[in-house]
Amino acid sequence: MKQDNMHETFDVERIRSDFPILSTKMNGKPLVYLDNAATSQKPNQVIESISNYYRTYNANIHRGIYAIAVEATDAYVDSKVKLAKLVNAKGMEEIIYTRNTTEAINIVALGWGGANIKQGDHILITQMEHHSNLVPWMLLARRNGAVLDYVKLDESKSMLDMQSLEEQLENEPKIVAVTHVSNVLGTINDVKHITRKAHDHGAVVLVDGAQSAPHMQVDVQDIGCDFFTLSSHKMLGPTGIGALYGKFDILDKMDPVLSGGDMIKSVTFSDVTWNDLPWKFEAGTPDIAGGIGFGAAIDYLNGIGMKSIRDHEKKITKYALEKLSGIKHLKTYGLGKEDLERRGGVISFSIDKVHPHDVSQVFDSEGIAIRAGHHCAMPLVEEILGESAVSRISFYLYNKESEVDRAAQAVELVKKTFKVG
């Protein structure tokens, strides 16, 4: 009720004023940052939380009795409590901090996979995966003599083919790993449905949330997945920290991947007892400042509200798709503006005859940061989209329509420079 009365409006300018980098220039023009799928910018609140830790209570966690060590430990643990709430885990015991999504997936491939994947077993992923949710499984399959299968894309080349999923599940894979949101196409996969189907076939499910957690409400219990991974740096937090969510019972049974200090309860000269969750998986001194900064980022996201962020991104994505679809010799990939419920704010595109690197170079000269390449999804870009590279625009809560207009102007400049059309 209280919230309804407040009737909060989404104030982009106020949000932008929290991000110092957004008032800087690049190549003499006001920076337009449209590479959020690669990494997000950081608000003052996050930057200050990190410098505040180093300035006023820097100490190692867990071991200290003295006040600032307790303060640092509390702040680090608090960050996990916040993340557990954000994704609706049952508790912070289910939140393991890692360096990033990639490391989180590797922990599952090495720890869970190493122990459970046997000769001849099937591992199922999709054609839409980022290399970080592909290569660890390929390696695991090679190492343990397993078979790596892929759920295909359907004819739209934008969505997973549910028929293909059903067929692949007949192989009774031991694990299904799927991205929540594609970092190339922007497609939001129905991971709840996929998880239910996979569970029906007895598979364990990992959802790569690197591109979903920053942009929408995530409820790991509702999805039902066994593992969920994310990166702080894509959701306003610092680099160097990410998370693996895992269901308590599975994590509890898993052996740790890295070992050493902090992850043990007791050690004798001949034996060791693992520490309690989540610490069992965090060997050695973690990225304390990173954890604390991530906590501040989650506070910031909560202050705006994940639903409002998603609504804002839907609006700007619609605006951009409309704008771009009116440009001749430009082609966008992924679902169209009619499908905003099933697509996030990532738009890959190409311009006839112009290499994506040349596109981003011209954008750069206009102060606009976009990415060009295979976006760490080489098989998807090359074998499905049939391109050696594509250009990509990706939005976040601080982007505004006037920035889309500047991007559209840059497209015209590209076309003029390369005499397209």
């Binding site: 190549n27 290499h355 690197h357 170079q361 011209v362 750069d364 295979h374 391109e387 050696s388 390369f418």
Partner: protein, 134 residues
């Protein structure tokens, strides 16, 4: 500043590259790939003793890499294998007439690296570190 990269001659070499195509009876050739951009090039050489009498390249890539290949192949025609061995980053910057900056340097040097590797391969030599770093 960045737009200088698309000076008229770079764009025109990109649109109409010189020495483009496959050479069927090449004496030496090499294929190279730049994984981060997806640029792909093969260079073919026709030799008379240690002299390059003809040169062609085939490939796909951005304007910087295609224009560099176009200009480099013009430049290399008539040169000796020893000349090619001595070519380096400065050579290619001199040829294209612009320093592409760190983000695009690899695009500009891909053709030179490929040309040098073709020559080293022909001479049964290991490519030197300078070449591999191109």
């Amino acid at each position: 500043m960045a737009l200088d990269l698309y000076a008229e001659d770079i764009v025109s070499h990109y649109e109409h590259p010189h020495n483009a195509g496959v050479m069927k009876d090449a004496d030496a050739s090499f294929h190279n790939y730049n994984a981060s951009c997806g640029d792909d090039i093969t260079i073919y050489l026709k030799l008379d003793k240690d002299k390059i009498t003809d040169i062609k390249f085939k490939g796909t890539g951005c304007a910087v890499s295609v224009a560099s290949a176009s200009m480099l192949t013009d430049f290399a025609k008539g040169k000796s294998l020893k000349d090619v061995e001595g070519m380096n980053v400065k050579t290619i910057i001199g040829i294209i007439g612009i320093d592409p900056g760190p983000a695009r340097l690899k695009c500009a040097t891909l053709s030179l690296r490929t040309l040098k590797e073709a020559v080293f391969l022909y001479e049964h030599k290991e490519a030197d570190r300078e070449t591999k770093a191109l």
